[in-house]
């Protein structure tokens, strides 16, 4: 028997409610106890409201929404039950949800400031990476000679870990902010470059021929043919680059930062405040989901010519 979407959504809702009831009714394990569970309850309430709103606003995507929220609900429930109530794993590194979500209540100002400052260096570094890596990648992929020489060198240089760049970035760049941005840039650069090069490589040679008979100047060839044709692959590289930039944040924000998503995690990691580390991870996830939503919209629009029906 297969459940309908409605059933599934109902189950997800019930599990969320059950989690809330469990949180209120059953006392936390002593090692996981916090002053107040209200933050966690609020989060669950918000999840339920958000869930309902999504179902209502995007009835076409009800299936995916129900699936996702079912997963979230199960995770929340198990987390609260196994860790919050039973404390099955070391309570120190595996804090329960009540402890984690309480952090948002306490640190929200700092977190908000962190999101803003991280997004700043993130967006600057990422955009510079896109703007440089895409044309370079397309050009390398297109010019066989350049490909033969530059690509092996690029591949040899690419696996240098960002920590190695750190001292050089500090010495050579004027400000600490510039150094951080540079690290984001370098982390995002390679995936976009590789995506662009592969994109050019997998273009149907018949399309290339179609373009060649127009004897386009090189710049037009790159802009109007290689770029759109390589677009799917570029997007794949850009997505990985986005993931990379978030990962690099922790390294980039080691330099003279006092706020930021990566800093927050790194900082509290150092003090073994695992509830805050996990709260920071959740915060990153929320930011990532928002950024990805934007990313997906841009991608869907740019690739609207692909896979129609």
């Amino acid at each position: 028997m297969r459940f309908s979407v409605k059933h599934e959504a109902g189950i997800a809702g019930i599990i969320l409610l059950a989690t809330a009831v469990l949180t209120i009714a059953v006392p936390d394990a002593p090692s996981q106890a916090v002053n107040s569970n209200s933050a966690f309850i609020t989060v669950i309430a918000l999840l339920i409201i958000f869930f309902g709103a999504l179902l209502y606003l995007h009835p076409k995507k009800a299936q995916a929404t129900a699936d996702i929220f079912l997963i979230i609900a199960v995770v929340m429930f198990l987390w609260e039950f196994l860790l919050g109530k039973l404390a099955l794993l070391d309570p120190f590194i595996f804090p329960g949800p009540a402890r984690v979500f309480r952090v948002f209540e306490i640190d929200w100002q700092q977190m908000l400031a962190g999101v803003v400052s991280s997004l700043e260096i993130l967006s600057v570094g990422y955009v510079i990476a896109l703007v440089t890596a895409i044309p370079i990648g397309l050009y390398i992929g297109w010019k066989k000679r350049l490909f033969g020489a530059a690509y092996p060198i690029a591949k040899a240089v690419s696996p240098i870990p960002p920590t190695v760049y750190l001292p050089y970035a500090i010495v050579l760049l004027p400000t600490f902010a510039a150094s951080s941005t540079f690290l984001i840039f370098i982390g995002a650069f390679w995936p976009v470059l590789v995506g662009s090069v592969y994109g050019v490589f997998s273009i149907d040679p018949r399309l290339i021929n179609s373009a060649r008979i127009l004897s386009l100047p090189e710049s037009r060839m790159i802009q109007r043919i290689l770029f759109p044709a390589a677009m799917p692959s570029i997007f794949s590289g850009a997505l990985i680059a986005l993931i990379m930039s978030f990962i690099t944040l922790t390294v980039a924000e080691m330099i003279a930062a006092t706020s930021g998503l990566g800093w927050y995690i790194q900082y509290h990691h150092q003090f073994a405040n695992y509830d805050r580390v996990i709260a920071g991870m959740i915060l990153i996830m929320v930011v990532v989901v928002a950024v990805m939503y934007l990313f997906d919209r841009i991608q869907a629009y740019s690739l609207r010519w692909q896979n129609t029906q």
């Binding site: 179609s210 060649r212 127009l214 044709a229 677009m231």
Partner: protein, 272 residues
Amino acid sequence: MATIDLQNISMIYGVNGTRHVALESVNLKIRDGEFVSLLGPSGCGKSTLIDIVAGLKTPEHGTVLIDDEPVTGPGPDRGVVFQDYSLFPWMTAFENICFAIEHTNGNLTRKEIEERTEAYLDLVGLRAYRNSYPNTLSGGMRQRVSIVRMFSMNPKVFLMDEPFGALDSLNRIYMQDTLLHLWSGGEEHKTVLFVTHDVDEALQLSDRIAVMTPSPGRIKEVIDVPFPRPRCRKTLSASTEYSTLKSHLLSVLYCEMLNEIERQEKGLKGLA
């Protein structure tokens, strides 16, 4: 003004170490403003030859001269309709044509380009599909866009590889007429190299017909088509001269292929 001179063209494809001779010593001179058809069995190297004249492939031996200049690469003087009519999938029908005009007729304003594009879309009855992406067009529609894209480049040489294969008969006749009109209508005659499988089409359109042998492709015979222009489809196909020429053409075309087909037929029995 354009003459095409194929001098001793050979083409060898090397795939995974094996060498496959696709064309062998092809010689053909096409005069300025002439309409020449290429006829030959599947796989004899017609598309390869078109690619070589277009400058997209470099022959193993031999040279192609356009107006006595050797071809070193593609150029806007030669327009191509590919056998698989590759349109750019990220451009709408309209944009595909616009793009071609833009890059081959340098000195037009945006507005002129768009007007011409509209005119070309009208020409093939696809105005309603101007904003459709190629993926959403039917096979015949894509082929028609691809043909007018080539026309819109306004090249001196038309290289056309089975351009009307996916068209219904009426559209096919109409496109043939359009082709003839554009070929002879302007200030200067275009030079046309036209690949087809349809013997009637070749006879209706061409000044001369080059018949090729199965692989390795060679030019077996070049046949003059002496009918005066403009030609009338109906009267022409009824004439005895036409029938004689057609059966001659068919016998040249088939003489080597029949053996091949006979061999294949054995396969059919083997299958049962």
